[in-house]
Symmetry: C2
Subunit: 408 residues, 2 copies
């Protein structure tokens, strides 16, 4: 266990495991609970770094796997590390590359985890061999054979200079047998130790290392894994792998896990970010979340709105918006809504393939999620999380909740 926790907890909810606090990193503080926008290829898609900060985000997530393949961690190191390269002055977390390496290899099975086509699955990429030493795979860019071991992942993350590094793990998909999951999870624990050993000798000063809990959808394996990761010297704990076939199972699996985790260490939930999942995750004691959802939906013209029955989504390209003079979200004070851009205008831009549509909807989505996190934070800090969570689940607009909170 680390001597000093990077997380300072300032408030706890009495009715759940939720907590609010501050995570200290080499590039500044992260107010938690927090959502972490993806900067997969060293950019939050379509957004300038100062805009991301202005949207209320303290930290972004860069992708070890993609940046390793192109333009390469050594080049990024020479260009000022990931902070200097992309011009983001705040904290950065890098994932380990494990998820991407394995989602390429497991092919369509991995789709189930994330509900999408994995990068390169149908192209020239793919796993060559999973060995105790590490993983051999082919680059989706040029088909060349590459090797990634736990030490490689940590070396790449050291070169990138991230503030939070994640250990290299095997990300098992949903439909693998318990036996495979058990053996894989044990290997992930051995890889955790190798990552920590490498980092102790070579890691950049101040870089925090997060272990990753695996164990699939099996309660005993999740508990064992949570305990094994908690027993290591990692600075924080991430929850990864397959979390179940539906939201209920996912919430159950996350609940099994957080029940086993030491209170004082920060907890990250990997790849989860739908509005109801953020609310439940916070109640289950998660501090930080990352997810492609707000930016990916934004690129496809899907806006996040306070409509639970519509999964908090509207597709602005639909014909029903062609004459709509409404903004995306009435009462929102941010440029995408308050700038006078109607749903009809956004639909026109989307139909015309205009970049501005992607920018405006992404901007809106990131702001919506940021407001949800701030509302949840306020709920914990002010001792009324149950009320805030219920309001969000009912479809209250987070900006309205924030305005109400600010006014007393």
């Amino acid at each position: 266990m680390p001597a000093v926790s990077a997380l300072t907890i300032s408030a706890r909810d009495t009715g759940s495991r939720a907590r609010a606090g501050v995570l200290k990193t080499s590039h500044g503080e992260v107010r938690t609970p927090a959502f972490v926008p993806l900067a997969t290829k060293a950019t939050v898609k379509g957004m300038l770094p100062p805009e991301v900060a202005a949207l209320g985000y303290d930290i972004v997530l860069g992708n070890t796997f993609h940046l390793f393949l192109d333009p390469g961690h050594e080049r990024i190191a020479r260009l000022g590390g990931l902070h200097g390269f992309m011009g983001w002055r705040g904290p950065i977390v890098t994932d380990s590359g494990g998820f991407q390496v394995f989602s390429m290899g497991h092919g369509t099975v991995a789709d189930e985890i994330k509900g999408r086509t994995p990068h390169g699955a149908n192209r020239q990429g793919g796993i060559v061999a999973i060995e105790e030493e590490g993983v051999r795979f082919r680059s989706y860019l040029d088909g060349s054979e590459r090797f990634m071991a736990p030490e490689t992942s940590m070396e790449i993350q050291a070169a990138l200079g991230s503030d939070l590094a994640l250990v290299f793990d095997e990300c098992t998909p949903l439909n693998v047998p318990r036996d495979y999951t058990a053996r894989s999870t044990e290997r992930t624990h051995r890889w955790l130790q190798r990552c920590l050993d490498w980092h102790a000798g070579h890691g950049p000063e101040g870089q925090l290392v997060f272990g990753i809990v695996q164990g699939g959808v099996f309660e005993d394996l999740r508990i064992e894994s949570a305990q094994a990761v908690a027993a290591s010297a990692c600075d924080g704990i991430a929850i990864g792998g397959s979390l179940g076939a539906d939201k209920d199972e996912m919430h159950t699996v996350v609940g099994w896990t957080t029940a086993q985790l030491p209170e004082e260490r920060p907890r990250h939930l990997l790849g989860i970010g739908e509005i109801d999942d953020l609310v439940r995750g916070v109640e289950l004691g998660i501090d930080t979340f990352d997810c492609a959802m707000p930016t990916r939906l934004g690129r496809h013209g899907v806006a996040i709105v306070p409509e639970p029955d519509a999964r908090w989504r509207i597709e602005l390209a639909k014909g029903r918006f062609k004459a709509s003079a409404e903004p995306i979200l009435e009462g929102c004070s941010w440029p995408a809504c308050a700038g006078g851009y109607s749903r009809a205008y956004l639909r026109h831009l989307l139909k015309s393939g205009e970049l501005l549509a992607q920018r405006l909807v992404t901007l809106h989505n990131l702001r919506f999620v940021s407001d949800v996190m701030e509302a949840l934070w306020g709920g914990i800090a002010e001792g009324r999380l149950a009320e805030t969570a219920a309001a969000i689940r009912r479809g209250s607009s987070p900006s309205v909740l924030l305005a109400r909170s600010a006014s007393g």
Copy 2:
């Protein structure tokens, strides 16, 4: 001739026909000489309206033809006109649709005018018939037959509510016989009168109407056309059509034309905007220019830089930039250069197909052109245009010229 000119000339160059002034419109003033960024489909590609204004632009150009086909001028009128629809508070000029209608029909010949593939030429669009009454064509969107007469164009522009409307003209390509050009130019003059007649009865109050000089590359036809347009009641005069096979011929044709134009009316040069052409155009007495160049190059990762030998362009996707820590333009204080984004980073974004690259390079290009126009304005106002023009042609950075001007 209009009773009162919309243009107030505040300074004239003694060594050329250049002048600086202010063009008054219903939505505010345009400082001239000015470049007009394209907002073809009701958006300056990738930019928010307040960003375009902050870049130093007073006016943008919307496209009558594209907006007529989709989403339709009537819908735009119901959504607050083009100003309300796109959220741009300043002046807007709309072209007449003539160029687009004819560039579809003349097919590859029209490529010569603009050096590009015309919209829809290889798709289902195209001209059905050019008649005295107007033009029948097929929509490039759905193949449906549409009709545009001079009155239609003015009616669309009235519905869009632009501040400056352009009359409907036939835009003749380079390689048509003199005889065709002569007959076409005469018809354009008859269409000019029909546009002015329609506008006098139905045009929105305060909307200015610009006539268009045609005449191809034939000196006598250009002179005749310039005189015919000047003799009409139009508020301003645009120069259109084929201007020649190369820059020298284009400058000659523009020179023939401006020599014939009344001093007091504003002059617009259609579709021209390369750096050397802006400098020469200002010297020849042009007040405003529009061109897709800065935004189109930006979308393709081509940055405008003060390098005359490279046609003021660098392609940031080239391999030679892969390790370059330099910004696009050293000494430029705007976000694309001063934000810490290296050429290597921009190349990475371009190779990865990231939206942010298009945004940053477009931002830079629009700023560069805006700085060029401001430097030229300063040159006229301060009586040293020859020096400023020579410095730009030699490859001085316009931001450096502006800084020097401000400090001395």
